[in-house]
């Protein structure tokens, strides 16, 4: 990684990782000494479907620049069907963000299995790069709300 620059925008990204797949993938990526961008703050959830819209909004409206939700691939959910519900919830949330034009690109849903340590690193680094390019969450510039 480059030397940190004071003026360079370093995004804050929150990732909700499912305990059974993506969190294990993060572990694997770490123990395999892969390079993962430090912009991501990880929150472990038991299932990606546990991520209520209020969790996303609390983080978004408090200034996070990007939000990643990641869980098992469809069909591989530890609880059988949780990630199918995640996909529906996410679709609804994404639609609200699109309709209100609240930078829907700041939300991302990814499927990363426990064995995909390298994919985890790729997803996190690519998402960080994308958010860096998007710039800071406009909410952070508003003193009204």
């Amino acid at each position: 990684m480059d030397k940190p620059n004071q003026n360079e925008f370093k995004p804050k990204i929150v990732g909700f990782l499912c305990n059974w797949c993506t969190y294990a993938a993060a572990d694997l990526a770490g123990s395999s000494k892969m390079e993962i961008d430090s912009a991501l703050t990880v929150i472990r959830v038991m299932c990606s479907s546990r991520v209520d819209p209020n969790l996303i909004l609390t983080i978004y409206f408090n200034g996070a620049d990007g939000i990643l939700i990641a869980g098992c691939h469809p069909g591989d959910c530890h609880y059988g069907k949780g990630n199918y519900f995640t996909r529906r919830r996410y679709a609804q949330m994404k639609q609200v963000f699109e309709t209100l034009n609240l930078d829907p690109g700041r939300l991302q849903l990814s499927w990363i299995s426990a064995a995909e340590g390298n994919r985890y690193a790729e997803v996190v680094n690519a998402f960080t790069e994308k958010i860096t390019a998007l710039g800071p969450n406009p909410i952070n510039q508003s003193s009204l709300f």
């Binding site: 209520d52 819209p53 209020n54 996303i56 909004l57 609390t58 409206f61 408090n62 200034g63 469809p74 069909g75 069907k81 199918y84 519900f85 996909r87 529906r88 919830r89 996410y90 679709a91 609804q92 949330m93 994404k94 639609q95 609200v96 699109e98 309709t99 209100l100 034009n101 609240l102 690109g105 991302q108 849903l109 990814s110 499927w111 994919r119 790729e122 997803v123 690519a126 998402f127 790069e129 994308k130 390019a133 406009p138 909410i139 952070n140 510039q141 508003s142 003193s143 009204l144 709300f145």
Partner: protein, 388 residues
């Protein structure tokens, strides 16, 4: 408007629409099919209506206002309070606006209403008048609404803003529907929408053997106009909500009373996250943020509250406009919610409250669906990534 054929019957209108209706309702209560009626009744002060569960036929004839000028409490909420713990053996018929029926259907899907012994009656609704009209000038408001009904006027601009572009103003999932849009104004057309409805109509002594094709044609043509109104309205709403700044502007005078939520038939949670202490953060956090931004508004979650509600209930929003009626600072909440709800419901090809048989979108799934989102989850790179 409807795909399956419906059947209806007619009774002559005597002493006005309301009086004729009262007679029909009274007959049903006297029969052994219905134990009680849930109907709006004008409150003693005359400036509002309350839902009354009636068992005395005389009360129906003297007091009921089956078609109320305004909608103070959404009918679905009234029915919820009656049947949340099951409705036992009580057989109730409730007369509601189409949006109240849709709210009822949504709440029944959310296990908040038990419809087993309930007969729902709806009518072609010209729109409800704003609640504030009724408290300002009760008599004029009531007369204005009766005027809309007797003139069969479905294009009034006096009704609530969301009512003006309501496309679901006619028969939905109700068991019995009153075809107010029917061209024959000398008779009242009653249409059966289910077995329950047919039983209800025969209990009132009505012959149900007519195919109401003239009414269907009329409602179709009203609906076409309403769709145009909706497109027009959405074009004006879009710039009000698109982008953080515009959205913040639209809700900038929100006083955080949460009346919109209390009046909403769909928001049924006992306690909302936004009312819980979990939605507040440590004071140091706010100070830090104020330092970074130069200043922040408090309470800090006013805008988040609305977006949170949109994310939680817009799939079930029936665009009844109760939120706007309840807003003390005249924010066009219902317009915004109706607009966003149209998009989220479209994403799941769902229409809140339209049909009783299906589950709400978040209660079910298909393994193979939402292609666009699914594709995005697979790639490591997001498609729009500018750095490649």
């Amino acid at each position: 408007m409807s795909t399956d054929s419906k059947s209806g019957g007619r009774i002559p209108i005597e002493n006005g629409i309301e009086q004729t209706l009262r007679k029909v309702l009274k007959e049903s209560l006297k029969s052994d099919l219905i134990d009680a009626l849930l109907l709006p009744v004008k409150v003693p002060s005359g400036d509002s209506y309350a839902w009354i569960l009636m068992q005395d036929p005389a009360l129906v004839e003297e007091e009921a206002s089956p078609m109320a000028a305004v909608m103070p409490v959404q009918g679905a909420k009234a029915l919820k309070s009656l049947t949340r713990k099951g409705n036992g053996s009580l057989r109730v018929a409730a007369m509601m606006r189409p949006c109240e029926v849709r709210g009822t259907i949504e709440l029944s899907k959310l296990n908040q209403i038990n419809l087993d012994n309930v007969t729902l009656i709806s009518y072609d609704c010209p729109g409800a008048l704003p609640l504030s009209d009724m408290s300002d000038a009760p008599q004029d408001t009531e007369e204005a609404f009766m005027g809309l009904l007797s003139e069969r006027n479905f294009e009034s601009t006096a009704v609530k803003p969301v009512c003006q572009f309501c496309t679901e103003f006619s028969m939905g999932a109700a068991d019995v529907h009153i075809g107010m849009a029917d061209p024959d104004t000398s008779q009242l057309l009653l249409i059966s929408g289910s077995e329950k409805g047919t039983a209800f109509l025969s209990a009132t002594g009505l012959k149900v053997d007519e195919e109401p094709s003239a009414w269907e044609k009329q409602t179709d043509s009203i609906q076409k106009k309403r769709i145009q109104q909706m497109d027009k309205a959405f074009q004006t709403i879009q710039p009000m909500v698109e982008g953080f700044d515009n959205l913040a502007d639209t809700f900038s005078n929100c006083i955080g009373c949460h009346n919109c939520q209390s009046a909403c038939p769909i928001c049924y949670c006992r306690q909302c996250y936004s009312d819980s202490k979990e939605s507040s953060l440590e004071s140091a956090y706010y100070l830090d943020k104020a330092e970074k931004r130069g200043g922040i508004s408090l309470p800090h979650d006013r805008l988040m509250f609305h977006v949170g509600r949109l994310s939680h209930m817009s799939l079930s929003c029936v665009s009844c406009g109760q939120c706007t009626d309840a807003c003390p600072v005249s924010i066009p909440v219902a317009k915004v919610f109706s607009y966003v709800a149209a998009q989220t419901q479209q994403a799941f090809e769902y229409k809140a409250g339209k049909t009783a048989g299906e589950a709400i979108p978040l209660k079910e799934y298909k393994e193979d669906e939402l292609k666009k989102i699914h594709e995005m989850t697979k790639s490591a790179e997001s498609q729009e990534s500018p750095h490649e």
